[in-house]
Amino acid sequence: MSTIQSIAGQNEQHPDVALVEKVRSGDVSAYDALVRKYERQIFRIAQHITQNREDAEDVMQDAFVKAFEKLDQFQGNSKFYTWLVRIAVNESLMRLRKRRTGKMVSIDEDLQTEEGSVPRDFADWAPNPEQNYNQAELAEILRKTIQGLPPGFRVVFVLRDVDGLSTEETAETLGLSIPAVKSRLLRARLQLRERLSRYFHKKAAPLARENAREKRS
């Protein structure tokens, strides 16, 4: 996360730009540093969109190779990372399309649901509720919960809240308006909260834990 936020002042060059310049001048090994820096984030985004490990690995490879091939088109007026994410999002959507035998896939689908736009569950959570689960159980709960969201909500939540991009960067990366990003983010946050409540309620935790165990076994 911290790598994404620019630490340079307006007139200072972002470290990525120097690496991009090196690659452009023929030093392919400089690209190695950019891949290492962002591979986890790109893999995570691809996995969130495609929901398939094999596809996410392919997307990660293809996105980095495509970015390398198109490096001359990188203007430097956006961050390298947001430019790279845009490529990865497009590659992920193409991959989804292939899985659905050519059916068009867009980041706007399945957004009609009103679920979660108004909170219904007002029971408080246990203090540090995640500690009621071991790491594998918690990861399973978090995966299952976010998988239930439409892709257009998921990707906005991941870019904004997990990766730490700004609203403006998220909008630019996904080709959405700022109000659209804000509206999706609010609904994504509320839907996730509502769904996690069943596991994290003060009293629900032991029962939910049993359910999680049963489903895993």
């Binding site: 891949v35 969130h48 490879q61 190779v65 983010l185 509320l190």
Partner: protein, 78 residues
């Protein structure tokens, strides 16, 4: 401030981009409304949990395999 008004600015409250005058109105509302306080706290916690826990690990050996494949393809394309 009503619950609906609070909900409309929930994201701004979480992202701490609220004018100080509105902040006072929010504090007054939260003192009276337990539901909104729970929604705010648990939504904050939702974000924190997702931020702090990697749910799609990229194991070192997979990372190395993909990394080698990427660099090989880039070197060929160069």
């Amino acid at each position: 401030m009503t619950c609906t008004e609070f909900l409309a600015i929930l994201d701004d409250v979480i992202d701490e981009s609220i004018a100080s005058q509105t902040r006072t109105e929010i504090e007054t509302h939260l003192k009276k409304c337990g539901h909104c306080e729970v929604v705010l706290n648990t939504t904050r916690k939702t974000i924190e949990i997702y931020r702090c826990h990697e749910i799609y690990e990229l194991p070192a050996e997979v990372s190395e395999r993909l990394h080698s494949a990427i660099m090989e393809r880039c070197t060929k394309a160069h």
